[in-house]
């Protein structure tokens, strides 16, 4: 019985974390873009006159979105039109279940893994769910029964499928280095040390893999350098015919993808919850000194490290989104097929050669 309760608590915690951070990413994006463009940004939302630099803004946005008119065009295929945003949303939200937030937490003789589901093939699970997310795009484009939306959906699906190949291939080198598909095992391997002082993080062992993964993942998030599926300002895209809450779901999905990409980057290439030289009983510095810590503090360190890394990559992605102009479609395809995929194949070969000597 207690097992079930623990799993329920884990599910709720992970989802709340995920949705809350996503909500605040919208605010961070508005603020960051404002700073980049020398504006002030959203700072008006207040509760009883208290406005802490606009921290209540996401909730105001959410309330506005919920109460907006939800208009379904008469010519759309109604059922699929209503279903598509939920498909998009669901397949991104479920990936959070495979991400390890920390090592084990021991409370009252029970060991709780800070991960919703410890799946044996967790990495492939995440990739599979992200690839199913394409259906949300195709369906929304097709069921809107609007040619611009359909073309946008096709553009989106073509782009996502192309970059999925690079995304998968860039991770093979990583799987060769850390011989596992289990995300928590991969993180555990990254706790070891190289030459006795350098943490064995993916970024040091697979620098090329990291770059390819990062570009491919940026394309998967469908945001500005790669926002061919839905360019809000000029090219009409797949969720043109949506309004109200369903449009909000698509918007949320975009930000959730940013967050998921950040967690994946952290987990795979930047040691996940590992803090350099922090073992289960405290810090063991390479110069010989030690700083022993109680178990609870160590867990807090780990979870905090994970969160800080994730926030950093969210910030980085938003920075990229507000800095670069959009690629042309042929440039997107060239980058994917002619640069990233050959490079990732070269990365696999190079990794194999380095591993065998």
């Amino acid at each position: 019985m207690s097992e079930t309760i623990i799993i329920l608590i884990k599910v709720v915690c992970a989802l709340v974390w995920f949705l809350l951070i996503t909500l605040y990413l919208t605010w961070v994006e508005r603020k960051e873009s404002a700073v980049i463009q020398d504006r002030i940004g959203a700072n008006r939302a207040s509760i009883l006159g208290i406005r802490i630099i606009g921290l209540f803004q996401p909730f105001a946005d959410a309330i506005k979105m919920i109460f907006k008119e939800d208009f379904t065009p008469r010519f759309s295929r109604r059922f699929l039109h209503n279903l598509a945003p939920f498909i998009s949303f669901f397949f991104v939200a479920i990936t959070i279940s495979a991400i390890p937030f920390g090592d084990v937490l021991r409370i009252g003789g029970q060991e709780i893994k800070l991960q919703v589901m410890d799946i044996n093939v967790g990495l492939l699970f995440v990739l599979a769910m992200l690839s199913l997310g394409i259906y949300g795009i195709i369906l929304s484009g097709w069921s809107s029964n609007n040619r611009y939306a359909l073309i946008g959906g096709m553009r989106g699906a073509a782009q996502l499928i192309s970059y999925e190949v690079a995304l998968g291939l860039s991770l093979i080198g990583l799987i060769m280095v850390y011989p596992s598909l289990n995300l928590s095992t991969i993180v555990h391997y990254q706790g070891e040390l190289l030459f006795g002082w350098l943490p064995k993080w993916g970024v040091f062992l697979q620098p090329l893999g990291l770059l390819i993964f990062f570009f491919a993942a940026l394309a998967e998030t469908k945001r500005i350098p790669f926002d061919l599926p839905e360019g809000e300002n000029e090219i009409v895209g797949f969720f043109t015919e949506y309004s109200g809450l369903k449009w909000g779901l698509f918007m949320m999905t975009d930000f959730m993808e940013v967050l998921i990409v950040s967690t994946l980057l952290t987990t795979l290439f930047f040691g996940g919850w590992q803090v350099p030289w922090l073992a289960a009983d405290g810090f063991h510095f390479p110069w010989g000194s030690e700083w022993l810590l109680p178990h609870g503090i160590v867990v807090i360190f780990q979870v905090a490290a994970f969160n800080i890394k994730v926030f950093f990559f969210c910030w980085l992605q938003i920075l990229i989104r507000w800095t670069y102009p959009r690629f042309r479609y042929d440039q997107v395809m060239d980058l994917g097929w002619k640069l990233l995929i050959p490079l990732s194949l070269a990365n696999i070969v190079a990794t194999a050669i380095l591993l065998s000597i």
Binding site: S131, W142, L181
Partner: protein
């Protein structure tokens, strides 16, 4: 719990294949099939084959069916194909189906008694599959890669529009 999952998945799977038979819209057919394949991934996971389950979902539901949907959208036939074939094909098909089903069950009947629930040990770990693929099944594996390259080139050559001379 496992029983509940099995029956849920089985009902959804069979219902979606039936939906594919009944529905006349190809796009809906493809979506029904996606659902069926996703359920199939669930069955594989229940049968201790997590790697194959994920491969099934990535390749079948994530790649092959997207290809189908792409082609359906490209062809974009008007909805409402003319009514189904002459009635007798339906009865003919049903007859064949019954015969086939009885035959399959009779064949499997001998297998039922020899089915064991298998050992307790997990068998489907990716490591084992990878090891076997690169030792015992190395030649089939390499031949598959050649086949896929051939299919890729063939598909592109077939569909490419030739320039007018």
């Amino acid at each position: 719990m496992a029983h509940f999952l099995f029956f849920l998945l089985a009902i959804v799977c069979i219902a979606s294949v039936l939906g594919m038979i009944i529905s006349k819209n190809q796009a809906y057919n493809a979506l029904f099939l996606v659902l069926a394949f996703a359920c199939m991934g669930g069955f594989f996971a229940l049968l201790d084959a997590p790697f194959i389950a994920v491969v099934q979902i990535i390749i079948y539901a994530g790649a092959i069916m997207i290809l189908f949907i792409f082609v359906i959208m490209m062809i974009n036939l008007r909805e409402g194909l003319p009514p189904e074939r002459k009635k007798w094909t339906l009865y003919f098909a049903l007859g064949i189906a019954v015969v086939l089903f009885v035959e399959l069950i009779l064949t499997m009947k001998s297998a039922f008694s020899s089915l064991k629930s298998g050992g307790i040990e997990k068998i489907g770990s990716p490591t084992d599959i990878g090891r076997l693929l690169f030792t015992e099944y190395l030649y089939p594996f390499e031949i598959t890669s050649i086949l896929i390259i051939a299919a890729l080139v063939g598909a592109i050559v077939l569909v490419k529009k030739r320039d007018k001379e």
